[in-house]
Every structure is written in C-alpha cells, then in structure tokens.
C-alpha cells in the first residue's frame, strides 16, 4: 500500500481581489517524514500557499490535500493535525509567556502534566527560561518570535508548517533551531513544510526544495540536484592585492566569451566570475596576469551554491519575462 502524501498540491491558484495573482497553478507533493522547503523572494506567494494549506484562505482554483484531506472541504480535520507558525507575529500581549503557553496548550487539549514536561524540555532549546514569567509585551521581537515557534512544539501534530520562522533570530539561535527541526523530524517521523527566502537555510535544512517565483513553481528537487541541474557553470574567485587592477580586469572580462556572469565584491578587491568553462578562464586569466606581470592574491574555483541556482533561474525569468 502506498503511503498518503503529507501534502499534495494540484494546480493551486490564488488570485486576490480578482487581480493579484499570488499563487499560479502550483503543483507539488510532500512525502511524509520529509523536510520540504518552499524558497522564494518576497512576494513570491509562499505565505499565501501556507494560508491555503492551513485552510484559512480558500483557493481561487485548483486543489490541495493535506494528509489526504481536502483543503476546501475538510479544513477542520487538517487543522487538527497541523501546527502553523505564521510569518507575522501573533501573541497574547497582556499575559506572561508561561501563562500564554499554558493557555495555548490547553486549547490543544494538552493536560497540565504533559504541558510541564514539554515546556521543561523546550525552554532551554529556545533560550526562553529567563523571560518565561515576563509579560509578553515586554519581550524583544526575537524572544516573541521564539515563543511563537516554541508554541507549536507543545502540541502533537503530524505536519509542522513554518513560514519564515527564523526571521528575527540571531545566527546562533537560527542554527540551533534548524538542527532542532532536523532532530525532530528524525525522532518523531513528522513532516516539516518550511518557507524561507534565505537560500543557505533551505540548503542546510531541506530534503527537497521547490523554488517559487511570481506564484509559479519554477524548480523542484533536492538542493544537490538543483545545483547540478541548473548550474553547469562554476565560479572562479579572483582576489586582487588592491583596487588598481580592477578596472582593467573588468574590461578584459567584458570581452571574454565564456563569462556567464560576474560579481564585484563591495569592500574587498575581489571578483566572482561564473563560467561554463572555468578551466579555460583560469588559464586565460593566468596568461593575462603573467603578461602584465601582475601578482594576484589568490585565484580559486568554487562549487555553485543554491544561491547561484536562484540567481540563475530567477534572473532568467526576469530577463525573458515569464517562461
């Protein structure tokens, strides 16, 4: 017997007010036990997709199923089985963090004993111990945000839906949180549906990533495959000793055939050159430096990042219009 998909989305479309196309015929499937990322720029349609999956916004056309339940007809069955962290903050401003969490847990039918077990296990992970008895309105944005995320770990759920949950967390908190998510999926066989605009986060966390742009899914695969599929080019990083040679180098590169794209770093005399034929490029550059008797600081070849995939894909789409 085939396992039901955690989420299956078919031609899902949302048009706001008859004119804003937020999600445009999106189709994808999320397997149970998977960490699935929806990656896209601001306004790409991530939050709208989540609101439709969480059944608080109804689709204009198309359909989706969550754990086999229809989002248009069986909303309550879905909502009983998911936990959602919205992108925007939501909190009880007049309560202490502890009271608010306890109330939230009781809404989900978690009894007092279970609640105190869970809160004790979570509070350190989210570094909220010190502020637990403080009124929420006095907490910092980052603390409120962690509280909001922690809340969804208090109750049982089969799918966690997280809409840019790390916004407002610092680097360490962010990394700790991503690791916590990975651990959680492994331990409890739950599924995570995760949206972000931060490419490195998706690359680090997700088993598979769908890239959404102007409401359309333009690519879907594991981060590794995406990189293989969409970037046959590699990047050559050239670090110069100072700015003086930069202008000349840029001019030469402009005249070269096999340079796909180049990016001049802001504060350092460093230039990143994407090329289909990086070895020839390195050879050509070495010859150039030699003939000019110019000594470079370093020259190296790097693997493409998922970021290159996005820039490539989205850059293409913006240049050629919508494919």
């Amino acid at each position: 017997m085939q396992e039901i998909d955690a989420i299956s989305v078919e031609d899902l479309t949302k048009i706001y007010a008859g004119k804003v196309v937020a999600v445009d015929h999106a189709s994808f499937r999320v397997k149970q036990g998977e960490i699935f990322g929806l990656l896209g720029l601001n306004g790409a349609g991530k939050s709208t997709t989540i609101k439709m999956l969480a059944t608080i916004v109804s689709p204009t056309s198309g359909n989706a199923r969550v754990l086999g339940y229809d989002i248009s007809k069986e909303g309550l069955e879905i909502r009983k089985r998911i936990g959602v962290v919205q992108q925007l903050e939501s909190y009880d401003r007049n309560l202490t963090a502890r009271t608010s969490l306890a109330l939230y847990a009781s809404l989900w039918g978690v009894d007092k004993k279970e609640f105190s077990n869970r809160i004790n296990a979570l509070i350190d992970k989210f570094e909220l111990g010190e502020v637990l008895d403080r009124k929420i309105r006095w907490l910092s944005y980052g603390q409120r945000r962690r509280l909001q995320v922690l809340r969804e770990f208090l109750h049982d759920c089969e799918i966690l839906i997280l809409d840019e949950p790390t916004v407002g967390m610092d680097v360490l908190a962010r990394r700790a949180f991503l690791d916590f998510c990975k651990e959680r999926v492994k331990g409890e066989k739950s599924t995570i549906f995760y949206t972000t605009h931060i490419v490195s986060e998706a690359e680090y966390l997700c088993d598979r990533v769908a890239i959404i742009h102007h409401g359309k899914i333009i690519a879907l695969d594991s981060p590794k495959e995406l990189k293989k599929k969409y970037t046959d080019a590699k990047t050559v990083c050239v670090v110069l000793k100072d700015d003086s040679y930069l202008t000349k180098l840029v001019k030469v590169l402009d005249g070269m055939q096999n340079v796909t794209r180049k990016e001049i770093m802001e504060d350092t005399p460093e230039i990143h050159i994407v090329s289909q034929d990086p070895f020839k490029l390195i050879y050509d550059l070495s010859s150039l430096f030699q003939s000019d008797s110019y000594e470079v600081e370093s020259m190296s070849l790097t693997e493409p990042s998922l970021e290159d995939v996005i820039v490539g894909l989205v850059g293409d789409q913006t240049n050629n219009g919508v494919k």
Binding site: A54, R79, R81, L88, Y91, D92, L107, G109, H155
Partner: protein, 255 residues
C-alpha cells in the same frame, strides 16, 4: 494523536481563553464605578428635585436604569476584546488550530453575555440598598436575566462590530465613549421619553437601551407604562441584526 473535542468543549476552552487573555479586567472594574456613582451620589441629589417618576421613587428609577446601563457598558467593552485578537493575530492562529469560526464567534458571544451578567448582577445587588418596592421572585429574576441577556447580545455585537471597523485602540476607546453617552442619554435610563424634537424621540424609542431599562423596571418594580411584548420583539430583532453584523465583520477579517 489528534486533538479531538466537541463543539461545546471547544467553545468552553475558547471562552476560558477569552477571559484569561483578552478581557481587560481593570477597565471592567473601572466602568462599574459609573453606575455606582449614579446610584449613590447622583441619585440622592436628584431625588431632592424629582421625587417620583412614573409612580416610582427617582432613586429606584435611577438604580434600575443603572443596571441597564451596566449591561450596555460591559457588553460593549467585552465585545472589544476581539480587537486584540485581530490586531495581535491570535485570531488567525486560533483559526489555523482545531477550531471553527462558528466556535470562535460563539465563544466571544458567550464571554460577552457572562461578563455583562456578572457586572449587572453586582450592580443589581448593590442597588437593592436604595431601591424601594423591588419584587424579588423567581419569575422576576428570570425576566430580569432574560432582558439583560438580550441587551448584551445587541451591545456585545455592537462592540465587536465597531472594534473591527476602527484601526487604532485610541479610536476604539473614543468611539466607545461617545456611543456610551449617545445610548445612555437617548434612552430611558435617566428619564422617560420627553424630548421636544421628533427625531430625538424616535431615537429614544428605537434605542435598545430604552427597552432594556424598561424591561428591567418592569421585572423588578412592575413598571407598566410601555408595551413589553413590542419591546421584547424589537430587542430580539435589533440584537439579532447586530450579532449578524458582528459575524459578518468577523468573516471579513483579512487573513
């Protein structure tokens, strides 16, 4: 494991949450001061000028009016709890949880009724110290509570409706204050209908607070200068309309 609960169970959990998280208790207590002020301070003063109204002592008239006024103010106030849920997005969060919109709306309505009844009951007990000729029977108390519940539906609905129309909490407070005076002084809380102007008399006659005050007086001191059946029906219609408007605004909250 799946969170599983009945309609009633969910409504009760949500109602308890409303009381804990959203109800402004300080404000609720403060708004009780006004009716007490009317009963004990203004009442004694006015009685020197107006000893009797419609066959009852003015003190009693005012005390019973204060009960009606309390139902109005605490219902409107508790209706505004929804402003916080919308603006701090717990509304969305709850709707993404194991609840339905109907359960949420029911819980808010129930919270409003309970708050209003508790406040009114308090003012009622206090008013007994100054009122004369109060009929205390099971029938009269049931009638009293019936009228108060109907009144709280209208004013709670009104509080919810206004909360979802205004953006800032300042605008909300200002509107509520203004409407408090409009409803109170164009009703039979302080005096029987008496205005020279037709428009004001009409407002007076359709104002649900007039009905609540009249019905409270009828149940407690047997006032009979009006048509109770007509007022009950009007109160039910206006209350239903306001609850409908409130639900409509809740359904239109942008998510």
């Amino acid at each position: 494991m799946v969170a599983n609960s009945s309609f009633a169970g969910n409504v009760i959990s949500l109602t308890l949450r409303n009381f804990r998280a959203s109800l402004d208790r300080e404000f609720l207590v403060i708004q009780l001061v006004l009716p007490l002020f009317f009963i004990f301070v203004a009442g004694f003063g006015y009685t020197l000028i107006v000893p009797h109204v419609q066959g009852i002592s003015y003190e009693t008239f005012l005390a019973t009016g204060a009960i009606a006024m309390t139902v109005m103010s605490s219902s409107m106030l508790s209706g505004t709890m929804i402003w916080f849920d919308r603006n701090f997005r717990m509304f969305e969060q709850i709707l993404m949880g194991p609840f339905t919109k109907l359960q949420y709306i029911t819980s808010v309505t129930l919270s409003v009724i309970l708050t209003a009844l508790a406040s009114a009951a308090l003012v009622f007990l206090v008013s007994l110290t100054v009122s004369t000729g109060v009929i205390l029977s099971v029938g009269s108390i049931l009638e009293l509570f019936g009228s108060l519940i109907l009144g709280s539906l209208f004013f709670g609905g009104f509080g919810i409706f206004v909360s979802l129309r205004v953006k800032s909490s300042e605008a909300l407070a200002a509107t509520m204050n203004l409407m408090f005076f409009v409803f109170t002084f164009l009703s039979s809380v302080f005096y029987p209908s008496s205005s020279k102007y037709l428009v004001l008399r009409v407002i007076f006659e359709v104002n649900p607070l007039t009905y609540v005050a009249d019905l409270v007086r009828r149940s407690l001191v047997g006032l009979s200068s009006f048509n109770p059946k007509a007022e009950v029906i009007a109160l039910i219609i206006e209350g239903a309309l306001m609850i409908y408007l409130a639900s409509w605004s809740i359904n239109r909250i942008e998510l």
